[in-house]
Symmetry: C2
Subunit: 538 residues, 2 copies
């Protein structure tokens, strides 16, 4: 069996780290909703959950065992259950629904690239669907155990493939086995004074292979770049062959196939090894909060910073809704809140937009970069709120998914959506999506983050009371309206959550019929039997 960090099958992380729903958050939401939250529903217990019966044939099971060892082919209830879904709102609703859960027929834990290849070859031959499974943190259905036209489906868990395979300190290139998780990766690099600088919200559980498969962008992507920008080499096992792209900084040898591996979402093969560009471990960091008069002026300020080459490693700006939610969730007591109000009003930024800026780097360099950025911020009427609020954001940044679990237990729908567009279209896209969300959710907030020279991402969060007896239907209605608004208004259907199942209907808006046909042609070539992650991406 694999040594892996498992999450609660019905939610995020572990009970030990979950904390509790803080009363001031409950109180504020009740006030917003105009009614108290439901009384707590106990999360489901593992014994009570019914899962589908394993359909894996003995022949396939024995074939898999002969590749990875019998102990690494699991079809026990527990292993199957924790591989039966990712961590989308819909996934968690299903886990709490009392309905029978579709689960993979077995979970296989290969030890290395060659084992992965052998597993895929066997599955292609026997017609067994394969779901590659890294951290299992997909929020778009990316690890759902869909079997397509096949009798059975297995999850291929990369939890045994968790090492630094090679480190080229001169070139700052690390080659990692795909199952390595965020904290392990950073811990290993820290010993060499290096960092990948990739910190998605899922950081504690997600894997390097998963990041590449989904074109992940970390919270510091404005500084370090999104994972697509950091890939210098990759190895992907496919049922029929393998793609082996050696580390190279840049070349003109035809289309860059690294960009075919990135975003392949397990539908072309299993990414087994990845070579990534690293950075020097920052000596120092400085996180700060600022307030700008409006979301639009915040967008202008971030654009000015980015286009002047002055963006800090972390840069985000919340709209009024998210700012109010943030202040409420921070739990400022009445007296302090009043003081803050007075301070903001005095500086013309009451009802403003909260900005979080985080500089990381050589201690000597931060001050100069910060000073130049502060000059720009001043031009947009930004007011400094100090380092406390910045640090508070940094400290809590991986904790939000636990809050979702608490709120779901209290009958609250909690969901996020993200998109990206050019700077010129950013506020118009924001308004269109915000409008659609506000029609169906009580609390709606948004922030700009992940800055590029030519544009940025928008990240929406919304909370509203669940519709009794049809929470999934409520979600579907809202999700489809929001996705339609995104593609109708020039936004990408996803900035960093990937396509999976949920965004599949909208891929055509990105790639067009010809683009999808081209990707399908690649899939037919690399996965002729179609066993790789059916129902996802394409």
């Amino acid at each position: 069996m694999a040594d892996s960090t498992e999450m609660r099958f019905w939610g995020w992380g572990s009970d030990a780290d979950a904390g509790e729903l803080q009363p001031h958050i409950e109180g504020w939401l009740a006030q917003q909703f105009g009614s108290p939250l439901q009384s707590p529903a106990a999360p489901p217990s593992e014994q009570d959950v019914r899962i589908s019966k394993s359909k894996l044939s003995k022949r396939v099971a024995s074939g898999l065992s002969s590749i990875v060892g019998a102990a690494n082919v699991r079809n026990d209830r527990h292993a199957r259950l924790i591989h039966s879904a990712g961590k989308s709102y819909l996934d968690l609703l299903t886990m709490r629904s009392g309905k029978r859960i579709p689960a993979p027929d077995a979970v296989v834990y290969p030890a290395d690239h060659d084992s992965v290849r052998a597993v895929l070859k066997l599955c292609a031959k026997r017609g067994v669907a394969v779901v590659p499974f890294g951290g299992g943190t997909s929020v778009v259905g990316g690890v759902a155990p869909l079997r397509g036209d096949f009798e059975s489906v297995i999850a291929v868990d990369l939890g045994r493939m968790r090492s630094l395979l090679a480190l080229d300190e001169t070139s700052r290139v690390g080659t990692f086995a795909a199952g390595l998780r965020g904290p392990e990766l950073e811990h290993t690099l820290r010993a060499h004074n290096l960092t990948l600088g990739h910190f998605p919200q899922s950081f504690e559980f997600s894997t390097v292979g998963g990041w590449v498969a989904t074109r992940s962008a970390g919270q510091a992507s404005s500084g370090y770049g999104r994972i697509d920008d950091l890939i210098v080499g990759a190895r992907m096992a496919t049922p029929g062959a393998e793609l082996n792209l050696e580390p190279n900084p840049g070349n003109a040898a035809g289309p860059n196939l690294r960009a075919l591996v990135a975003g392949s979402e397990g539908a072309l093969g299993v990414i087994s090894e990845v070579s990534l560009q690293l950075s020097q471990l920052p000596e120092a960091s400085r996180y700060e909060a600022w307030m700008v008069p409006s979301f639009a002026s915040g967008a202008d300020a971030l654009r000015a910073l980015e286009q002047a080459g002055l963006t800090p490693e972390i840069a985000r700006c919340s709209d009024r809704g998210e700012t109010e939610m943030g202040v409420a969730f921070s739990g400022l007591d009445g007296a302090k809140a009043k003081l803050l109000d007075r301070y903001l009003r005095g500086r013309g930024v009451e009802h403003g937009s909260l900005m979080i800026l985080g500089w990381e780097g050589a201690s000597g360099s931060i001050e100069g970069r910060r000073r130049a950025a502060v000059d720009v911020l001043g031009e947009f009427g930004a007011v400094a709120l100090g380092r406390g609020a910045g640090r508070a954001w940094a400290q809590s940044r991986f904790h939000t998914p636990y809050l979702r679990d608490h709120l779901m237990s209290r009958g609250v729908m909690v969901e996020t959506l993200e998109t990206s567009t050019t700077w010129s279209n950013l506020i118009s896209l924001y308004r269109a999506v915000d409008k659609v969300l506000a029609m169906q959710a009580v609390v709606v907030g948004c922030h700009i983050s992940h800055l590029y020279q030519t544009g940025a991402s928008l990240y929406f969060t919304f909370l509203t009371p669940q519709t009794a007896n049809d929470a999934a239907g409520q979600w579907r209605q809202l999700k489809s309206a929001a996705c339609q608004a995104i593609v109708d208004n020039g936004g990408a259907i996803t900035h960093h959550h990937a396509i999976g199942v949920d965004h599949k209907p909208y891929l055509k808006a990105e790639d067009g019929a010809a683009g999808i046909a081209a990707l399908r042609a690649v899939k037919r070539e690399l996965d002729p039997s179609g066993v790789m992650n059916p129902g996802k991406l394409l």
Copy 2:
């Protein structure tokens, strides 16, 4: 007919800009070769060149005429001749050979994307091979009029598609028709205080579509990024369909198809429109020359600059061979050369490596960035040579191809080769390739340029007397030995010259069999009849 800037069919650019072979260059080469250069051979005249007979059927000609107008379907000798080759050494040898030149059967000049689509559709239906033709500056056979299995072949010249289609100044995104050439593009942007910052050596003649099709990297790519990094959207007409990728700064919607357009080399379709990230036009620039003790210390210094985020927009370092060639070609007179020698010896960098560094940007920012870089350079024993030599490089940087023509007229083989690799492998790759070249060429030089966090490119230039009666065979032998040395020693087969015909045998070393199969699958999908640029790339 198109208003296009044509080059001399047997060489680069125009007679007016060609100048003459300077006596000190001739003298120095004769000294190196140990024998005088041959007496000048007159370049071929157009009337003397025999070209293949046009095989285009009347039916196809009339179909093409009905799409683009009869005046824009040319099968006269002149139009066919100037579209019969690119500008590789081998191309120019062929033009001078007196042999019959294979030429396209006609040249078609579409006016816009829809015309391109219609032309491709017709060609696919009638089985006519299509060679997309931008500036015609390929040095790897990319525009050779190969017909594959087809009766006839046409060149599709994008010379009528030369406009700025849209400019989003807020997002700094320009959308260009593919046939726009470097100077036109920069001239148009200058009015808006913007630049693309893309200056390949072919800049004066090459086109924006060609840059994207070949994954071009400009001389300032260390600062502005290579063209692949700048593509935010693209439109590509294919025989069966069209890829239409809207401008977007970054997303996670499956594999990024922009990376399939980049490097497609006309083998998948014709790139008709490209949206690119722009930068603010630099207020000021400062070019300087430095001398470092050795090529290896120069590599270390450039790496240190790059990894510290201090690389100037232009950064290159010549090995001893190229440094000596550069000093000789610059034509320093005897007294000045002696002074320079003494100066360098006094500072411990005689027989050193010449470095060119060029800062561009806001006038206020250059000084600070330069000071920080100079501190780093000092650590590697670099000695400043001042701005004169830097400016001289900048002024002559588009002129080298003319020198090749002069030297070819004098019986000299002049060729360049380029590759890229990680920093840790750079000097070892350099030594391996240099060794192979030195065995077959008298004068060999190399420079490092195009810096990345994880590596850089190597650019080799070599000159040697042509083998009498078999200059092409001499080139083939040298080219294949050098390419083999590159791929055997971990280098990319091309950093920015692309694959074309010449590098095709080595694509497998980059992409492997599975990668090539994946690309062929895309080609089958988008170009089912295989008319697009047969014999190139795949």
